[in-house]
């Protein structure tokens, strides 16, 4: 076990993070719910010590739930990569609100920018990628491959439970170790007009990928 801020306190910090004002369907913008984000971050730090004192990247950082959470858990620096200007603005307000300075944000298209000088540079890469369910099937796997390039150690990610077999196989062919740390239920409040129910439960797996 590694030292870590109490889970309850972490969750309280994440609860104050503002959400997308006008989520964009093309980018599959969903917020990482605070109970989910805090459990992920708590596990990453308390079980594996992969945040405190580390160089951490957050791919598709959105409004900054994981970025800010990792900064709160004393990452040496968290770099959030995000394409959308509106999300970045909200994230920046959240960063100011939380009075955190160990964060840098870079506006870029993670899928196209491929900042190769960053390769193997990060200790830990976090992401809650687009699940790739609508028009952009496979996008979460592209994010994963990029994340694995950036990290020399571990990648933590969420993927739909229904794709587990495929993901484990893909990880094997990429030569990385994949572990499902937890099965979670992503309780998505109705974000978009096409959501007919009040909220939708999506089963997701919380993964740890490690380079061998």
């Amino acid at each position: 076990m590694f030292p870590c801020l109490k889970l309850r306190l972490l969750e309280e910090r994440l609860q104050c993070i503002s959400d997308f004002q006008k989520p964009k369907i093309l980018l599959e913008q969903y917020v990482t719910p605070s109970h989910l984000g805090s459990h992920m971050l708590y596990t990453i730090q308390s079980q594996y010590g992969d945040i405190s004192g580390k160089l951490v990247a957050d791919l598709g950082s959105g409004c900054g739930a994981l970025t800010i959470g990792a900064a709160v858990l004393d990452a040496s620096l968290v770099v959030g990569f995000e394409i959308d200007e509106d999300a970045i603005k909200i994230c920046q307000e959240n960063v100011i609100e939380h009075e955190i300075s160990n964060i840098d944000l870079v506006q870029c298209d993670v899928l196209k920018y491929a900042p190769s000088r960053f390769n193997d540079c990060f200790d830990t890469v976090l992401m809650n990628p687009p699940f790739g369910t609508k028009h952009n099937a496979g996008v979460d796997m592209k994010f994963l491959e990029i994340a694995l390039n950036l990290s020399h150690n571990s990648v933590y990610s969420l993927h739909k439970t229904s794709t587990r077999k495929f993901i484990l196989k893909r990880a094997e062919s990429l030569g990385v170790k994949a572990e499902v740390l937890a099965e979670l239920v992503y309780d998505l409040p109705t974000t978009y007009k096409f959501h007919k129910k009040k909220s939708v439960d999506i089963e997701v797996d919380f993964y740890r990928f490690t380079k061998q």
Binding site: G53, L105, C108, K112, P115, S116
Partner: protein, 124 residues
């Protein structure tokens, strides 16, 4: 944007650019923040940095102070040196300005501390 991040950004993604590194800095607004000093982290980062690029970046912002031009020997045990690197790499921030591709002159604006590395379709 911190100089650690600058040390890793390139413009290689632009069509026809072969190296795209280092990006030139044209800063109009620079600030200094305070970040907890973690000697192990700094020691671990030093071999990963492009030192001349870090030095040059700090120098162009007028923040180089008495940072040595070359990495010193046994830096792991030199707290004074590690503190200087910590300051340059994490505490000096470019708030507004531009990053400039060394090959094409394409400017990437930095607004409120955030570099915009997005390209237009016809640049990729």
């Amino acid at each position: 944007m911190k100089l650690l991040t600058h040390n890793m950004l390139t413009s290689k993604c632009i069509k026809g650019v072969s190296v795209g590194y280092p990006l030139k800095i044209n800063a109009s607004d620079v600030k200094e923040t305070e970040i907890d000093f973690n000697p192990e982290f700094v020691s671990k980062m030093i071999p990963k940095l492009d030192w001349p690029v870090l030095y040059e970046a700090a120098d162009s912002l007028g923040k180089v102070g008495d940072l040595p031009k070359n990495i010193i020997e046994n830096f792991e045990n030199d707290e004074d040196f590690l503190k200087k690197v910590h300051h340059i790499m994490l505490e000096v921030e470019i708030v507004n300005g531009n990053l400039i591709c060394p090959e094409t002159g394409r400017k990437f604006p930095i607004n409120n501390g955030i570099p915009n590395m997005l390209l237009n379709e016809d640049e990729i």
